[in-house]
């Protein structure tokens, strides 16, 4: 049954390796789970799971394997409190010792719980109740030093309960997408180059120069490496995108609060990009798309967020814009093509699930821009695409 835990973890796609599993077995051999499911839960988690994104899957696997297992009921903290003030330890008589030794661990445990249920108050001395200094096998200074502290540290909760809570659901990378996760993904978008003041010692050149100088020391300095990645974010707002407003605003928050870009620019559009892009969500304040193409260098990394679904005419027809007053002379697809021609690194992130991507305008746009889903995995792939040459 125990080895099946390994395979069930695998089934839930937790990346566990044999090395880690052996480490856990080693730790168990040394008794570090303390015959206690709660401690085992944390021990196994810290040795087998190496990223918080898999904590939730671990919880699920743990539940599946250990669900039916009875755990000793949790001991109240007050009990442990009494046990911490030991009176002087009473010496055991040989008969008593023998008697205690006869009881095996499980029996002691069972009795302990039974007693605990009956007992209502703190108790010191005597030979039955749980307390300090007594001859009962349960207690601080008893025969078992330290007393029976079954699961006491778990703050009232058993391992199964902890696993069932699934508090790490939000850390999964394949389902939800929160600001933090997008930030982590965006951080991968870096392009290190040597810029800024020359403040780093270039050792190799220093040695070279010094040798050429016949030993007269000459120090050579170089610029340190910094992130030179510049990001242009274009977001579809309104209409069908309203469904995705939360997740898009998260992407926006993440991009905006990620400070490591050299430059970040962002504009809005509705359904398709024409001759104007907007600086605000209400689409009042605009900037000409052509000026953007002229002013921004082509090494800007471009992320376009939109569902790419629109009436076919909006994409390929002159004057096709959904807004009558826009009067675009050039069809949207042409503008998109100009963008993808100018910028060397572009991706399109689509908040719709990929099964909806069969719409004709989506496939047309997919030909121009590599398209990715708005999930952590999708964003990571998109970022990877942005980092390599296309």
């Amino acid at each position: 049954m125990f080895t099946s835990f390994f395979y069930i973890l695998k089934k839930y796609k937790v990346p566990v390796s044999i090395t880690e599993w052996m480490a856990l077995i080693g730790a168990l051999n040394q008794g570090y789970a303390w015959s206690n499911l709660t401690d085992f839960y944390f021990l196994a988690r810290s040795l087998l799971v190496k990223s918080e994104t898999f904590y939730d899957q671990y919880d699920l696997a743990f539940q599946e394997v250990f669900k039916g297992i009875e755990t000793p009921s949790e001991i109240r903290d007050e009990v442990l409190e009494w046990l911490k003030n030991p009176l002087n330890q009473l010496p055991f008589s040989p008969e008593e010792l023998a008697k205690i030794q006869q009881m095996d661990a499980e029996e002691i445990l069972r009795l302990f719980e039974e007693r605990l249920r009956e007992q209502r108050e703190a108790h010191h001395g005597g030979n039955k109740w749980i307390g300090t200094g007594g001859t009962s096998p349960f207690g601080h200074s008893g025969y078992h030093p330290g007393g029976i502290r079954v699961g006491g540290e778990s703050r009232y909760r058993s391992a199964i309960k902890i696993a069932a809570e699934r508090r790490f659901k939000n850390y999964r990378s394949d389902l939800t997408l929160d600001v933090r996760q997008i930030k982590v993904a965006l951080k991968k978008l870096r392009h290190l180059s040597r810029i800024g003041p020359e403040d780093e010692l270039d050792l190799e050149n220093t040695v070279d120069k010094t040798c050429k100088n016949a030993g007269d020391l000459e120090l050579v300095w170089m610029r340190s490496r910094q992130n030179a990645a510049k990001l242009l974010l274009l977001m579809d707002v309104g209409g069908s995108m309203d469904l995705h407003i939360t997740v898009c605003s998260r992407l926006f928050s993440a991009a905006h609060s990620t400070t490591h870009f050299k430059a970040l620019q962002y504009y809005y559009f509705h359904n398709c990009i024409y001759d104007k892009l907007y600086k605000d969500v209400e689409r009042w304040d605009s900037i000409a798309t052509s000026s953007l193409l002229h002013t921004l260098p082509s090494d800007y990394k471009v992320i376009i967020v939109g569902d790419a679904s629109m009436a076919t005419s909006e994409l390929i027809a002159r004057y096709g814009s959904i807004h009558y007053h826009d009067q675009n002379e050039t069809p949207g697809i042409e503008w998109l093509k100009r963008l993808s021609d100018h910028f060397t690194h572009c991706v399109w992130i689509n908040p719709d699930t990929p099964s909806y991507w069969k719409h004709p305008t989506v496939s047309a746009i997919k030909h121009l821009f590599p398209m990715f889903a708005l999930t952590v995995e999708g964003i990571e792939q998109a970022i990877q695409k942005l980092v390599v040459k296309h």
Binding site: Y32, F42, L43, S46, L47, G146, K187, L203, S253, V281
Partner: protein, 288 residues
């Protein structure tokens, strides 16, 4: 079975509250002699953990701060070629003695220490992606070789290694396999109350209640560039106590907002939001 004191070495200190899970992870790492990798939001006490392990176990702490330019070899030793070059030209020292130009790095220092020490490798993800891989052998065998002097430095006592990461980069699998891992969750309000009590034992109960309410309200706003964390909360409580503010006042508004929100944009966003006008979000987007 009862946890033996040999295992249960670290139990927190009087200024640092540990969750049972973290306590377990630390003790497992110490018992197995493996590095402990700690992740978590900024301000959850990753770095402080190492300081408190050192304090709690009464051991010396060595801190190795990682920068984007740090190389794995920097932690082992540093061969001061420039000094040697300089001495060759002007110095009166014997430059054939290379030993005097070899300076041990932080990892090397913790190896030669006469007793076990705590080594904190802070923000390991700042460095190059290959950095952790370059340390695998050294952390496994706890020894390294210095080719310049043909000497091997071996650890007298395996240091307790604590590694922190802000997940700026993925860490290599081979490295992760060797670590004990723990993710420090942001404390829930119950635990936060304990933490606040440790720092302000005399705080009024009602005040603390309101403080925590407001704090967790701020925490759930996703638009902040930097969410307030534990250290901001503690500063805020101190400010409130010093200002002599009543719980009622804290309930109605958030005094000393600047202590909690450190970015101007966050403060502006929050004020726009709390003024309750429709389109506060638009206003927020518009200002950039």
């Amino acid at each position: 079975m009862v946890k033996t004191p040999e295992f249960n070495k670290f139990v927190g200190t009087n200024k640092y509250i540990v969750s049972p899970a973290l306590q377990n992870a630390v003790n497992v790492a110490i018992a197995l002699g493996r590095p402990l990798l700690v992740k978590g939001e900024p301000g959850t006490g990753k770095t402080l953990l190492a300081h408190n392990i050192a304090l709690g176990l009464n051991k010396k702490l060595i801190v190795w701060n990682i920068k984007s330019t740090t190389k794995a070899r920097d932690g082992l030793y540093f061969y001061d070629t420039v000094q040697r070059l300089n001495d060759a030209r002007f110095g009166d020292r014997d430059i054939s003695d290379i030993q005097q130009y070899i300076k041990l790095g932080k990892l090397g220092e913790s190896f030669i220490a006469p007793e076990q020490e705590v080594l904190l490798i802070d923000e390991v993800d700042k460095a190059d992606i290959e950095f952790p891989n370059d340390l695998l052998n050294e952390l496994d065998d706890m020894s390294f070789y210095i080719p310049e002097t043909r000497k091997t430095i071996t650890a007298q006592h395996r240091p307790i290694v604590i590694i922190t990461s802000n997940s700026e980069k993925e860490l290599p699998d081979a490295f992760l396999r060797r670590c004990v891992f723990h993710y420090i969750e942001f404390p829930d309000s119950e635990m936060m109350e304990q933490i606040a009590r440790v720092h302000f034992p005399n705080i009024e109960k009602n005040l603390l209640k309101e403080v925590l309410k407001q704090f967790y309200f701020l925490r759930q706003i996703d638009e902040f560039r930097k969410k307030p964390s534990t250290s901001e909360l503690l500063d805020w409580v101190q400010a409130l106590i010093a200002g002599g503010l009543s719980p009622g006042k804290v309930e109605k508004e958030i005094p000393f907002l600047g202590v909690l929100l450190k970015k101007e944009a966050d403060v502006e966003y929050f004020q726009a939001r709390s003024s309750g006008t429709q389109g506060a979000r638009f206003k927020f987007y518009k200002q950039y």
